[in-house]
């Protein structure tokens, strides 16, 4: 008997379904993407079992990096018409006698975390180069000068004045010294903030009844 040969088939695969799928995925990712803002410093948060999500609006974050440098970040608030960041910077400018141009204010409202003394903030806003910007990030001063509270104190105070709903989060690096964190907490308590959100990574820990010592 003669063998039945299968008819020669084209080696081409129809890619249309694949393309469809990819398109759907791509559109999904595009729509849900919330880009990581460029942070001023790298933080390795400690772990905890907490499952509460960090709010992404109405929050001011004090960032403490490994070397104990302090950075600060605040958002524009739920009501985007209010321009909280601009407002806070203007108030800070009034406090330290620094004038900002509208362009600088506008630039500031689009930035993420920052950490430099008030004297350098205009330089930082004008800097074009990201390297130049990074060199200016030397941390926000936390020492009070005489009776004058520290710059960070004013940042927190004016942020709370501009956005009364804002909560305070502390995002510390696990390796940071507790002394620094304690100082920040004391400073916050002076600002009448008694509830802190400590930013952590989630880590599952299973403890069951079996673990209870008899």
């Amino acid at each position: 008997m003669p063998k039945i040969k299968p008819p020669a088939r084209s080696p081409h695969i129809d890619m249309t379904p694949m393309v469809d799928l990819f398109s759907v995925l791509l559109i999904f990712l595009l729509l849900t993407a919330s880009f990581r803002p460029q942070e001023a410093t790298v933080i390795t948060s400690p772990n905890s079992i907490s499952e509460k999500q960090a709010p992404d609006k109405d929050i001011m974050t004090i960032i403490i990096n490994k070397d104990g440098k302090i950075f600060y970040n605040l958002d524009n608030g739920k009501d985007s018409a209010k321009h909280t960041r601009m407002d806070v910077l203007t108030k800070m400018g009034d406090q330290y006698n620094i004038k900002f141009t509208p362009k600088q204010l506008n630039d500031f409202s689009h930035q993420a975390s920052f950490g430099m003394p008030m004297v350098d903030i205009r330089k930082w806003l004008n800097a074009k180069d990201s390297k130049e910007k990074e060199a200016l990030q030397i941390g926000i001063p936390t020492d009070s000068v005489g009776t004058q509270p520290s710059e960070l104190f004013y940042w927190v105070r004016f942020s709370r004045l501009s956005n009364p709903y804002a909560e305070v989060a502390i995002k510390g690096d696990g390796e940071a010294n507790y002394k620094k964190v304690k100082m920040i907490m004391d400073m916050l308590q002076e600002n009448k903030v008694n509830k802190f959100n400590l930013v952590t990574n989630m880590e599952k820990q299973e403890v069951t009844l079996k673990d209870v010592p008899k």
């Binding site: 919330s34 999500q53 907490m185 820990q205």
Partner: protein, 210 residues
């Protein structure tokens, strides 16, 4: 790379048909591009949002009220210092009433400080875990908020569990403090507070077992 089937030309006569072109387009470059884009978006999207742990500190009072009396046997003092070491002692260290309690060394492992905390907080822990298990297995159906309230009430009514005082010295790392607060959450400790370390305790740390 679009596929074009070439037609034989040169046939004279007959009707001139329009060139028959295949409608199939090679999609490989498109797929390549999409793969790239998807990878890019996947990598730049922040999927896992950071979590927060909430702690509430007591308000700093300017007038020095008498601090609430705590029975000594319920107080568990946890001292944190460098090298991820935890020391603890029960009761209070009062230099006027010697001898000072001895420090016990422990660590953050599963059999370390957690065992101590669970042992002390046995009743409340069992109560809360059985309650949660019941909810999990479906024997008990209550709303989340109600369950939270009930757990809160259990914690509030607890009269036997320890009152943990967390004290960190200057060498301690932030991670240690977060870890110990986390232990409190894991062990369902009803009342704990972060307080300043006293000079007496600093002295005790110096002579503590290494």
């Amino acid at each position: 790379m679009a596929e074009i089937i070439e037609q034989e030309k040169g046939k004279k006569g007959g009707k001139r048909r329009p060139k028959k072109q295949s409608t199939r387009i090679d999609m490989t470059p498109m797929v390549d591009l999409m793969c790239l884009l998807i990878t890019f978006f996947m990598l730049t999207t922040a999927f896992s949002k950071p979590k927060v742990m909430v702690i509430t500190m007591p308000e700093k009072k300017l007038n020095t009220d008498k601090p609430p009396e705590i029975p000594a046997w319920r107080t568990l003092n946890i001292l944190l210092t460098d090298n991820d070491v935890v020391y603890y002692y029960v009761g209070n260290a009062d230099p006027r009433k010697p001898p000072l309690p001895a420090l016990v060394k422990s660590d953050f492992s599963k059999d370390g400080i957690r065992k101590v905390l669970l042992e002390k907080n046995k009743d409340l822990f069992v109560q809360i875990v059985t309650f949660k298990d019941k909810r999990h297995s479906g024997k008990l159906v209550v709303a989340d908020t109600t369950a939270d309230q009930q757990i809160k009430k259990m914690k509030k009514d607890d009269q036997k569990g320890p009152i943990v005082l967390i004290k960190a010295d200057e060498k301690a790392k932030y991670k240690d403090v977060v870890d110990i607060i986390d232990e409190m959450a894991i062990c369902n400790i009803a009342s704990y507070a972060i307080v300043d370390i006293t000079p007496v305790e600093l002295g005790m740390l110096k002579t503590a077992p290494k």
